[in-house]
């Protein structure tokens, strides 16, 4: 068996979520999703178009900051990774604040592109490494972007999965609920239930999250680490001792 860091498992698990897609984008402050997209591109033989926000080299856009969103509106973007200060069981995402609007207890950076991309990107992969009741809440305090929409609301996309430091949930849009699909090595279902603030469905026998293969690990530590270091030098240095 190969040995891998938890971060590398997450990268491989996220990459699997976008396998076979044509065009995948990664937003702000997302080194692990960034690495996952770069891994997926490497595994596709460079058939996949990948854009990493903030990267010059791994960014095919030439029409300014709006091109990512325009692409999504055109139906040209297949998947996007999204984080969240809070995420609830209906896949609502909060990137704004907790508490009173005028004087919140916690202030997050802001909604970024979520309030738009969540509606028009077919496969939005939620990612938050911290898996705790602080993050995975019964009901978000502020809906930056709703997980589900009423009929009659223009919506061509939405949440497909939630990957955390402990497990992978799939999102069932018809039911508006998460389903525990696989548990990362070293974690278990009781722990996940204890640390999750919302109710979720569960496969009778949730699988173990598939570890990265040797080939994937080699790509992650080689090409992907090198490509990622341009945009996330601190992360790359910390994870693989890699400079930009």
């Amino acid at each position: 068996m190969n040995r891998f860091a938890p971060t590398e498992l997450l990268i491989a698990a996220l990459a699997r979520q976008v396998r076979g897609l044509g065009h995948v984008a990664v937003g702000n402050a997302s080194p692990i999703p960034g690495a996952a997209a770069l891994l997926a591109r490497a595994l596709s033989g460079d058939a996949m178009v990948v854009s990493i926000l903030g990267s010059q080299r791994h960014n095919p856009y030439t029409d300014g900051g709006r091109e990512l969103f325009d692409c999504a509106g055109q139906g040209r973007l297949d998947a996007f990774f999204l984080g969240g200060g809070e995420i609830d069981g209906q896949a609502n995402v909060n990137l704004v604040a907790v508490g009173e609007r005028q004087a919140p207890q916690a202030r997050f950076p802001g909604s970024f592109g979520s309030a738009y991309l969540y509606f028009v990107v077919p496969k939005v992969i939620l990612f938050r490494e911290e898996h705790s009741r602080r993050v995975l809440v019964p009901r978000v305090a502020f809906v930056s972007a709703p997980g589900c929409s009423a009929k009659g609301i223009h919506r061509t996309g939405g949440p497909a999965a939630l990957v955390t430091g402990r497990c992978v949930f799939a999102f069932d849009r018809a039911r508006g609920r998460f389903r525990l699909d696989s548990i990362h090595p070293g974690h278990d279902r009781a722990e996940i239930e204890a640390e999750t603030g919302f109710e979720f469905d569960c496969l009778p026998e949730p699988a173990a999250t598939e570890p990265p293969s040797d080939a994937e690990l080699a790509l992650i530590r080689g090409r992907v680490a090198g490509e990622l270091a341009e945009t996330y030098p601190r992360f790359a240095a910390r994870t693989w001792n890699r400079a930009a």
């Binding site: 856009y61 030439t62 802001g110 970024f112 929409s149 009659g152 601190r234």
Partner: protein
């Protein structure tokens, strides 16, 4: 004709209360001019981040220069949350007009086109609509529904018309044409704003519009009010294509700005120009 001035004169062209558009960290942030703005004691700025900001907004907020900020996000990226922005938010000291990236781009495009609004998909069901009373929902008239209560609701966003757009770029030529490369949000900002102030690394020797290759990445001088030379003017942020971010300096800022006294010490101890 464009005026060439220095960064203190440029800061003086951004009076208190200016609605000031600034780009995201990847686009060329006028940090030297920002320090000049803080040094002149600017107050009451209405920032518009295009569409997000980092250390620039945090510095301005921490220095008490900002009354209002329209933004899709303020963060120090790999260096964590923006500490002075978060503190001001919690204390209710700044009016935060939360938005989402494409809404800011669309609002600027509305101003660019001289129309009062621009439609945008998504948004419906987001609490952003609850805090943005200036956003309207109508029924899409092309879906055949009634406008007031129609099927297929869609959001209309008001035009965003900054008084001033401010950014840092690599080159401007004598006439004031500015090379922005593929950072075209800078062109949209400039078109939308009443005027644009630009700091540049250096003056370009030649006419940027005479060479079709350079012209493709050039903002014409007709939008530009004044240009100032500021070598390493984005420091400690990156100027993509020219220099990387000074990671140690941003880390020093992120640590210092956790507290108000630490922030004050940082401001007092930081050179106005890059070393």
């Amino acid at each position: 004709m464009v005026t060439w001035i220095d960064i203190d004169a440029m800061a003086a062209r951004i009076p208190d209360g200016t609605r000031l558009a600034v780009p995201a960290d990847y686009s060329g942030v006028a940090m030297a001019a920002t320090r000049a703005l803080i040094a002149r004691g600017a107050r009451g700025l209405r920032l518009v981040t295009v569409p997000t900001s980092g250390m620039q907004a945090d510095l301005l907020v921490g220095a008490g220069a900002v009354a209002e900020i329209e933004t899709a996000g303020v963060t120090l990226g790999e260096h964590g949350l923006a500490p002075r922005f978060s503190a001001a938010a919690k204390a209710g000291r700044v009016d935060i007009r939360d938005a989402t990236c494409p809404a800011i781009h669309a609002g600027l495009q509305a101003a660019e086109k001289g129309v009062p609004f621009m439609p945008l998909r998504g948004l419906i069901g987001s609490d952003l609509l609850a805090v943005r009373s200036d956003w309207h929902i109508i029924g899409n008239p092309f879906a055949g529904g009634a406008l007031e209560t129609g099927d297929d609701p869609i959001v209309l966003l008001p035009a965003i018309r900054p008084d001033v757009a401010l950014f840092h770029a690599r080159w401007a030529d004598r006439s004031g044409n500015v090379w922005i490369g593929r950072r075209r949000e800078l062109a949209t900002m400039a078109h939308a704003a009443a005027t644009t102030l630009v700091t540049v690394e250096e003056r370009y020797d030649g006419d940027l519009l005479a060479d079709e290759t350079m012209a493709a990445g050039t903002l014409p001088a007709l939008y530009v009010g004044a240009v100032a030379v500021a070598e390493r003017g984005a420091w400690p942020l990156a100027l993509p294509g020219a220099y990387a971010a000074d990671d140690g300096e941003i880390a020093r800022y992120a640590a210092a700005a956790r507290t108000e006294p630490g922030f004050a010490d940082y401001l007092a101890g930081t050179p106005r120009r890059a070393a």
